[in-house]
């Protein structure tokens, strides 16, 4: 049962289609990665989830409830950090959290605020004005803000931006900690390596559309590799494939490169099959890393 279900979401800004019939589901307890190049629609999607942007069409269901009709109840269970961590710079970290806690419909005790400050490593600096904070410290405060209402679902938009390597590692541990506490995390990032390490499932968006989505196992596991074989006579191969079981796994031809979605153990069988049919093989490659998947898919959709 999905904790979040996005159905046919579309949003157009004047002539620009930011989201185009986007659908995806997030399961409870998962870390869900949202990937895509700049302007792909990641932030627009996240803003739609938080009612910051009104989609033209489409449905958003949190906890099996329609967002439009249950906004107050739903958003009380959601914590979020969209883009950079912005606060009231003239107030201290503690006063910022205290002030933002008033926007929750639950009563948040002072003790809980102090506990969050400690959790994100700002103890001792909580009374300093936020304008004196470094970006990393603001990011920590942002994470404390996310957890203010003890949310079940957490939305983080590019939380790595501007963090140093140590900050990135700490953030990763923090997100894993949230997962271990049973929270669901939706995360967008440009750092593919981070998503690859963190996410249980992911979606790649480009030009507002879903390019591919699934669990990490499905997308990056050895049971489903995207194999590219460069051959001398692709037209001849296409004809031969028509009468074999490889036809179901055939994904398309681009110039002299034929693509298949197959398991790793099938690669040898496929190569044998091509040799038996006198198809000259120039090269065989398959991708496994998220970066390769991401680049191949986003470049294909940009073409």
């Amino acid at each position: 049962m999905s904790i979040l279900s996005v159905k046919n979401l579309s949003k157009t800004y004047q002539q620009f289609k930011a989201l185009d019939n986007l659908s995806f589901d997030v399961q409870p307890g998962q870390i869900y990665g949202l990937l895509g190049p700049n302007g792909a629609g990641k932030s627009t999607t996240m803003r739609c989830l938080l009612t910051l942007i009104k989609p033209d069409v489409g449905d958003i269901l949190f906890f099996q409830k329609e967002l439009k009709e249950n906004r107050r109840e739903i958003l009380n269970k959601v914590g979020y950090l969209i883009e950079k961590p912005d606060f009231y710079n003239y107030l201290s970290a503690y006063n910022n959290l205290k002030l933002l806690s008033k926007y929750s419909t639950n009563k948040i005790e002072d003790k809980a605020i102090h506990s969050l400050i400690e959790k994100v490593g700002l103890k001792g600096r909580e009374n300093d004005a936020v304008k004196k904070y470094s970006h990393g410290m603001k990011q920590r405060l942002g994470l404390a803000q996310v957890l203010l209402n003890n949310p079940d679902l957490i939305i983080l938009d590019e939380p790595n931006t501007g963090l140093d390597p140590q900050g990135i590692v700490e953030l990763r541990d923090f997100i894993f900690e949230l997962k271990n506490e049973g929270k669901t995390v939706i995360l967008s990032s440009h750092i593919l390596h981070e998503i690859e390490q963190l996410a249980d499932s992911m979606i790649i968006i480009n030009k507002g559309k879903s390019v591919i989505q699934g669990s990490k196992e499905e997308l990056l596991g050895e049971n489903n590799l995207h194999v590219k074989i460069e051959v001398e006579h692709p037209t001849q191969l296409e004809k031969i494939l028509l009468h074999t079981h490889w036809q179901n796994k055939y994904k398309g031809t681009h110039d002299t490169i034929i693509s298949f979605d197959i398991e790793k153990k099938e690669i040898a069988h496929l190569v044998s099959f091509l040799s038996e049919n006198k198809i000259g093989i120039v090269a065989v490659s398959y991708r496994k890393k998220l970066e390769e998947l991401y680049m191949s898919l986003t470049q294909n959709t940009n073409a």
Binding site: R47, L50, T51, L52, I53, K54, R71, R72, E73, L75, N76, V78, Y80, I82, E83, K84, D86, F87, Y88, N89, Y90, L91, N95, L99, L100, K102, Y103, S104, T105, Q145
Partner: protein, 279 residues
């Protein structure tokens, strides 16, 4: 809702710019008091010298009542600026600072956020007016004492007895509050469209200045426009010092001020509750 109003008031209370208005009023009013205390009699003698052929003025003219009236007249332009300075920033400041996207995703509806901000603006405006009242009337009376008041108007000279003045100030300040609330709603309205703090303040002041200039020019074409200009009705507090008080005229002006306030607030609410928050 009360909780959110409290939050908005806390933001105003902790924001340094909120005190600039109070500080500016304090400095301006104190300067006027000092100036009138040191050379006020000569100033009044000069003004009343034009009437010396028609009237024989005797007794104390420079009273706290008159000083308060002069202060109110002088602050016609400054007070809207001071109000716009805070109210023009209340939405656009959060938009440019990025905090609006934090608030707008919280469980409370945008209408709740909007009206809590508007009510906080109204309270801030009220505080400014009360502070002006304390400095102008109370401090004026402490420095210059009480007494009859002579008000110079275009229709002539109005003489008010000492015991007949204070209640007029009470109403004048209430009218001034609602007039400034109109300015607050205008700045608030522009603030809901803008994404930086300066634009609403500049546009609000620009509109006030243009409207005031049109209202001042004695050009036949503008005579048709003047009754619908909000600045025409914002200065109706002066009529509280007429004898007798033209209540119908004041009520009509206050109705127009109220209608403008509702219109600006309505436009702002309509836009704010529907706009995409992209900052």
């Amino acid at each position: 809702m009360l909780k959110l109003i409290g939050v908005e008031l806390y933001k105003i209370y902790t924001k340094p710019r909120s005190y600039l208005g109070l500080l500016a009023i304090t400095i301006i009013v104190c300067l006027i008091h000092i100036a009138m205390y040191s050379g006020g009699q000569e100033y009044l003698d000069f003004i009343f010298s034009t009437f010396k052929d028609s009237f024989d003025v005797s007794g104390k003219i420079l009273t706290g009542n008159l000083i308060a009236f002069i202060i109110l007249q002088m602050l016609v332009v400054q007070m809207p600026l001071l109000v716009a300075f805070v109210t023009g920033d209340i939405i656009s400041g959060e938009a440019s600072g990025g905090t609006l996207r934090i608030l707008a995703g919280k469980p409370y509806s945008r209408s709740h956020i909007f009206f809590s901000k508007f009510i906080a603006c109204a309270i801030y405006t009220f505080v400014l007016v009360v502070w002006l009242g304390i400095l102008a009337v109370v401090l004026g009376h402490l420095l210059f004492g009480s007494g009859d008041m002579m008000v110079l108007k275009t229709e002539g000279l109005v003489v008010l007895r000492d015991g007949d003045i204070l209640w007029r100030y009470g109403y004048a300040f209430i009218i001034a509050f609602f007039s400034l609330l109109l300015i607050a709603s205008l700045a608030f309205c522009i603030s809901s469209f803008a994404e930086n703090s300066i634009t609403p303040i500049v546009i609000t002041m620009g509109l006030i200045i243009i409207s005031t200039v049109i209202g001042t020019l004695e050009v036949p074409l503008f005579e048709y426009i003047k009754p619908i200009l909000f600045t025409t009705h914002m200065i109706i507090w002066r009529n509280m010092f007429d004898k007798p008080v033209p209540w119908n005229e004041i009520l009509l002006s206050m109705s127009i001020v109220f209608a403008y306030t509702c219109m600006f607030t309505g436009i702002a609410w309509f836009h704010f509750t529907r706009k995409d928050i992209l900052t």
